[in-house]
């Protein structure tokens, strides 16, 4: 059990996807304007990451069996896109509440590099199936965590500080993201 806990903590703090590995920067900057949409996006990403890993890990074993592991990227994109589409349809029918809160974000995630990234990194790190699942779940939680932090920072920045005109909008967000990434480097070396 301790092993899995370490995996999750390491994915949330040490190898945080947007802040330490710089994956999924696009939604990190784009959807972090307010806390509600940041939470929605974070939860949707966590959900899809875990499910995508659950599906792609067995497929990788299949690819390896035929000796065509190099086709990983192409096949994964295909599978993840189809999976997200399927989940969207399923949610629309059976989980209307969840669909209403996550629905807008699901199509955005189809082509998210963080989702593909976590699937590929699970294979590269030679993790077994449960480890992969925890790794993906931790990565999603880390993403949610970073999104929420960013939304909080942006909310404060836009309300209460007098930002010089030339820094308003994207520049100040990039600066804030850079400083957050620097502070997350403090966790480096805690676990591998």
């Amino acid at each position: 059990m301790g092993k899995y806990l370490i995996i999750i903590v390491s994915m949330v703090l040490v190898n945080n996807y947007p802040l330490a590995q710089f994956l999924g920067i696009c939604p990190f900057l784009g959807v972090s304007k307010d806390k509600n949409s940041a939470t929605g996006m974070g939860i949707a990403v966590t959900f899809v990451m875990t499910l995508a890993t659950a599906v792609t890990w067995p497929i990788q074993q299949l690819l390896n069996k035929f000796g065509i592991g190099y086709l990983q990227t192409v096949v994964f994109i295909l599978v993840i896109a189809a999976l997200v589409q399927l989940i969207e349809m399923f949610m629309k029918k059976n989980m209307v509440g969840l669909y209403k809160s996550l629905g807008v974000f699901l199509p955005l995630i189809t082509t998210n590099c963080a989702v593909l990234g976590v699937c590929i990194s699970n294979i590269d790190k030679d993790l077994n199936y449960p480890e992969s699942l925890f790794n993906a779940f931790g990565a999603g939680i880390g993403f949610l965590f970073a999104m929420l932090l960013m939304a909080g920072v942006r909310g404060k920045l836009e309300d209460q500080s007098r930002i010089p005109e030339s820094f308003r909008g994207v520049p100040i967000v990039l600066l804030a993201a850079a400083i957050m990434a620097l502070s997350f480097m403090g966790f480096g070396g805690m676990f591998s």
């Binding site: 065509i68 295909l78 599978v79 349809m89 629309k92």
Partner: protein
């Protein structure tokens, strides 16, 4: 051979399985959409411009279906009044207060009219040109004529002609993409039917300076404001502004404007003839009045003189 064949077959079969599953799922998870929603959605133009304030036509149709009393059916600017009427018909309520709006460029500073300060030959966008001393024209508010609005328009309704953007009212859908694109904030939305007579200038310079920078500038002299019988014209920030709600399209201001900044651009020849006649009639009436007043004054003078003479006698 098998080196090639295995990957091809495998990836193909993965794709095939995924597509079969999706096709099957779309049947299993098929949702019967609300009939009203489908009807409403069919009437909306599908431009997904977001002009109504919702995230696309689907979202607006959903909002209308869910709350037909709270959400006004006149929000779609692209569809205009005809679309609003159809939406209202489906929802069983009346569509009133919808007026078609069109974009209007408040500038007539064509290459002949406006004075150029220098030759601008850098990046061909208004936004870039604006950064170089506020544009090459002497007028600080004038149309830069490099077509940012033309590029922004999805409906081919605005074109730069002789250095000034002109809106084709028949094609304009009042999506306000050009209003946002113009770095000089020269374009505004006006009610189509009521804005036949319009100030085609937005020069905020003082009179003499405005006159120097452009031959057809509004110099803020206020003659139009004094001429208007309906109190529709005010001078704001050295520019004449017509309140289209009050304007009766009489055309007096067009006649009186010393620089020709107020224009009658959108009347048909027949309508113009009518307006000319009414203006002439109005002027004749006024001349008559003046004549009458002069006669009366003369008569009063005469009477006073006679009275004085009688008193003397």
């Amino acid at each position: 051979m098998s080196e090639m064949l295995i990957p091809i077959v495998l990836v193909f079969s993965v794709g095939l399985i995924a597509s079969v599953i999706l096709a099957y799922a779309s049947k299993v998870f098929y949702i019967q959409e609300d009939e009203t929603y489908l009807k409403l959605r069919a009437e909306l133009p599908g431009a997904n411009c977001g002009g109504c304030g919702y995230a696309g036509c689907d979202d607006y149709a959903h909002a209308l279906t869910d709350d037909p009393d709270g959400v006004p059916c006149t929000k779609c600017a692209v569809g205009g009044p005809s679309c609003a009427e159809k939406l209202a018909e489906i929802l069983g309520k009346s569509a009133d207060g919808m007026e078609k709006e069109v974009a209007f460029v408040m500038c007539n500073g064509t290459t002949n009219n406006a004075k150029q300060l220098f030759e601008y030959s850098d990046i061909k966008t208004c936004k870039a040109a604006k950064t170089v001393f506020g544009g090459s024209k002497a007028c600080p508010n004038g149309c830069l004529g490099l077509g940012d609005c033309e590029a922004a328009c999805d409906f081919d309704a605005i074109h730069v002609i002789k250095g000034v953007a002109v809106v084709d009212r028949s094609k304009c859908t009042s999506c306000s993409a050009c209003v946002k694109a113009c770095p000089n904030k020269l374009i505004k939305l006006v009610p189509e039917a009521k804005s036949k007579i319009i100030v085609r200038c937005h020069n905020t310079q003082k009179g003499a300076d405005a006159k120097k920078s452009c031959a057809v500038a509004c110099i803020g002299c206020g003659i139009c404001a004094r001429t208007c019988k309906f109190g529709a014209i005010t001078i704001e920030n050295n520019v004449s502004v017509i309140d289209h709600e009050k304007c009766k399209s009489c055309g007096m201001c067009v006649v009186k404007c010393p620089t020709g900044a107020i224009q009658d651009m959108f009347h048909t020849p027949e309508q113009l003839e009518k307006i000319k006649k009414s203006v002439a009639a109005m002027e004749a009436k006024e001349a008559e009045k003046r004549k009458q007043a002069a006669l009366e004054a003369a008569a009063a003078k005469k009477a006073a003189a006679e009275k004085a003479a009688a008193e003397k006698a």
